[in-house]
Symmetry: C2
């Protein structure tokens, strides 16, 4: 009855405090409606309902700039800025993304999906304002989990230098995705305990003014605090103490599970697509836990996403000191791994493809120049996983495979993956990254010897003639199916599993020249800077025709996964057709 | 008379305090001897003489692990760990690198050359020790400038979690390369003013124990403080207040100039190779300063290295608020630039090729997904600049050119560079990076129209037939010279300036197929993931032979620049020979 009348933040301004509280209740109902149907970031949004209403009540977006870190707490902001239908009307649920998106609304300043960037981005808005003579407020909304990322510190340290209006709304819900890790969290707890009075104050130590709101879900208190800092002439942090999942009982009770949720039944709370079968993450954690019992030097590391490789709370407890969560600090994770390996330990860092991007320099400098034998497990590297533009998992091959010393392996199935994982932990020659397959783990029945010491050696899976398909990792099933289809046309294709994407097997590739005229490469990643280009380069001075198949260099958003594979001609039928056409052209 | 007897840290242990002070004086003489002859990091080492002697007096390296951030203050450590000849014997000056190097000595734990990594690396040593049941001390030596990098914060935040022996020696010389920037420096000043008693303590706020040494050049005080924390059972920061350049008058007087010095006359202090001719950095700063006068929205940004694009102290003063130094915080710099551009400003970030590596994710997420029109000037991108393994400037093309939306330009000469710079500041289509040429800026006499709106269009500089050379940026003079040499053989080569390294010009490349059979690509960068591979991919399904020339994917260290160019066949003579050979093979 309130929300239905909110078409822009202006519609909030006339409401009384009780009416605004009614709006908060309705916003929570809308959150349940959309989250149960579509899934999404759950706990962070419930905790930020009052603060978001207060922000839009006190400030005048879009003139005033409000920027939400990582966008995990921006759903209510979307509801209040002309996009309420996407939360109340099932037919419109897909009309907005789960992240800030300027294309949707002038109230969104940036596309944001990776953590810890908001203070820096907002500093830019403030600096631009100051150069151009503007007078608007700039507000950066930062979570306590995000504070563990180094860029957030860089931002806060620099914000203090602005000397002009800049407001950091620090949403302290005492949780990252899982628990928070790091020494600063004791200091934040002390600030909460003392009502913001503790003299040992991280924000003040960074040169910032500071206010504290003890109940960050008390709308009246929030409005007072924000009104007080509106138009302030210097940088200030407003620290609000909120309850993650506030007002949605299951999310309050189990904060880690409900940080992000898959679609669920709003009554029974059961996930709509229950799937208890172990996936690659579970199998990885179980394998590592078993190994840890015999090897005290084996240690699993996460940068704030423990379940990426199956380390749920119970498995973390089993691993004890052999599991380390460094917070959302990928750079630290890589350097830590290098140090552990240098001291004789066996570190294994599990990370999503989209987040491995956050640490190129540490991979190059701390890990690879030092040639420290650590294992990096890159998960979800495929167009078939996350399809938000900020979470694309398509750039890991260009990023990792062109760093000297790093061995990047791409297993084609569960058995080969487990063999590579086993090998990598004992291997001391170089750092090893593994592109973990995606989808349902399947045993192929083949036995893989866990020895990959012979670097950059490809495996010929099927020996034919005329055309060869070199299929990286999880493209192998499509390649094998394409070979079957080609057989129907009378073409007996060779299929090669390169295993290594960080180098080429000159012997195998040279040998193909005897009786092949076409080589097709397949990779579920961007072509530019990727594996196929290495093959094209290898054959560049020969007669071999190389047909490269992978993804175009582009930022795609919320794409249909099958359509993208089709558009980039990565289905068995199109692969077969393209091989046949290339052969016909010879 | 002391130094000559120090062959390992054990030889320090028997010396008295006055004798150790004598050793410090001799170490300073040795620093002057080598620095005047070879150049290197000057100020940081003079300030750390006493602390380094104290470290090796109190701790037992290599059993105890001492790790120096960025290695800028590790020279005295090298002198005391069996490498004194490299500082006292001119014939041995080249025997050690300017950075930590395990290949030189068991007392060096890592190869380190990029800033802010030491706490994380040392955390790894400590974690490995704890897993394996060791008992040694782990000491991370961190400078105040390095503290502005986010990874240092990530490390400190996580160090607190170790709960075991871990010592951060925080060397506060009140300077970065230039001045320090950031809100935390006021807090550090307050700690110095209060003798470490200020309750607002950044380190304590991060959960770390803390000690303060008021005179960090007082050997006795340092020995006492370090002895007190030796064997400590939890993480502690020992904050020492030192004088950058201590004991070397010119370095004390001009801390920025003497952070790093080129070889100089030890008596007159004049640089041995005086060069007052304006270089690309000077010309860039002068151009930007001139533009700033008419455009208040134009702002130059540096991440701690202002002179990379000519912003010396006097030019910084001229720019006023239109120049921003964010400290050694590349990630913040990129996000800041994106924010400024979003608010309508024109940001220009100048950065060394080796350091642009530190911000891949921010380039992708904060800048390119948002398609914010900022300019990035990438300096020294060539094998002909820095040749230390930690400072290679060869990886920027793979890193930048494969990010969607980013336009990466490679000008071939001064005039083209200035045209591209001018265009980029007004261009609002995409973010633009420019690979600034290296070497002496030369006018070619050609006029370049400052319009590059037609993206990915190559320019044919010389139209011949049969063979074409596509030369990226500063490889153009070698390509033109090779074309002259080929003319002597009766080969009339085409020479193409691609201008854009982030895309290919299908029309120009297709047209070559009419009367060319060989295309050679030249890039002064690693081949893997680079420009040549894009050309190889373009022609992969055609008859065209593509010969790729660039650098091998490898970590080379202190290489001879000419030899490397020769080894990778990037000289005019070898280019001409290889083109002729490829033509002959057709």
């Amino acid at each position: 009855m309130y929300l239905e009348n909110i078409n822009s933040p202006a519609d909030l301004k006339g409401l009384s405090l009780p009416q605004l509280k009614g709006l908060c209740a309705e916003a929570r109902e809308a959150l349940v409606a959309r989250l149960s149907a579509r899934g999404g970031h759950c706990g962070p949004n419930f905790g930020m309902v009052e603060a978001t209403v207060a922000l839009h009540y006190v400030f005048n977006s879009p003139a005033d700039r409000i920027v939400f870190d990582v966008s995990h707490q921006s759903y209510v902001h979307k509801m209040l800025t002309g996009r309420r239908h996407a939360f109340t009307e099932p037919a419109a649920f897909d009309a907005v993304s789960g992240y800030s998106e300027p294309a949707e609304s002038e109230h969104d300043n940036f596309v944001i999906g990776h953590t810890s960037t908001v203070v820096s981005l907002a500093c830019g808005l403030a600096k631009g304002r100051d150069l151009l003579g503007g007078s608007e407020n700039v507000i950066a909304v930062l979570g306590d989990g995000s504070l563990s990322g180094g860029e957030a510190f860089e931002g806060l340290n620099n914000a203090a230098e602005l000397g002009t209006n800049f407001i950091v709304l620090f949403n302290d819900n005492q949780m990252s995705i899982a628990e928070n890790y790091g020494g600063m969290y004791a200091g934040l707890a002390e600030l909460r305990r003392t009502g913001g009075q503790s003299p040992c104050n991280l924000f003040r130590a960074l040169g910032l003014d500071y206010r504290y709101v003890a109940d960050g879900n008390d709308l009246g208190a929030l409005i007072s605090a924000l009104t007080e800092v509106r138009g302030i002439d210097h940088p200030v942090v407003v620290h609000i103490n909120t309850v993650k999942g506030k007002g949605f009982a299951p999310a309050e009770a189990d904060k880690e599970t409900y940080h992000y949720c898959a679609p669920f039944d709003p009554v029974t709370l059961r996930p709509l697509a229950a799937d208890d079968a172990p996936d690659y993450a579970d199998l990885t954690a179980d394998y590592l836990l078993a190994r840890m019992k015999d090897d005290p030097s084996l240690v699993a590391i996460t940068s704030g996403t423990p379940t990426v490789f199956g380390f749920t709370a119970d498995r973390r407890a089993q691993a004890g000191p052999q599991f380390v969560d460094v917070g959302i600090a990928e750079e630290h994770a890589v350097a830590l791994a290098s140090g552990i390996a240098t001291r004789g330990g066996h570190p294994v860092w599990g990370v999503y493809s989209t987040f491995v991007q956050r640490t190129y320099d540490q991979l190059s400098q701390d890990l690879c120049i030092n040639d420290s034998p650590a294992t990096i497990l890159v998960f979800w590297a495929s167009a078939l996983t996350m399809n938000d533009v900020t979470h694309l998992c398509l750039f890991d091959i260009p990023l990792l495979s062109n760093i000297p010393n790093l061995v990047y392996l791409a297993p084609t199935c569960l058995d080969e993956y487990m063999a590579m994982l086993q090998w990598s932990i004992g291997y001391t020659g170089h750092p090893v990254a593994i592109r973990v397959p995606v989808g349902v783990p399947e045993h192929t029945g083949r036995t893989y010897v866990p020895c990959f010491d012979a670097l950059d050696t490809f495996e010929t899976v099927r020996r034919g003639s005329r055309a060869a398909i070199v299929a990286v990792g999880s493209m192998m099933p499509a390649a094998m199916r394409a070979a079957e289809l080609l057989a129907d046309y009378g073409i007996d294709a060779t299929v090669i599993n390169p295993r290594f994407v960080s180098g080429v097997d000159a012997q195998t590739l040279d040998a193909l020249r005897a009786d092949h005229t076409v080589v097709m490469t397949l990779e579920d990643g961007v072509l530019d800077g990727g594996f196929g280009e290495k093959i094209a380069r290898f054959y560049a001075e020969t007669d071999m025709r190389v047909v490269l198949r992978g993804h175009r260099k582009e930022f795609v958003d919320r794409y249909d996964r099958r359509s993208l594979m089709q558009a980039n001609r990565l289905t068995p039928e199109l692969i077969a057709a393209d091989v046949a056409r290339a052969l016909a052209a010879r």
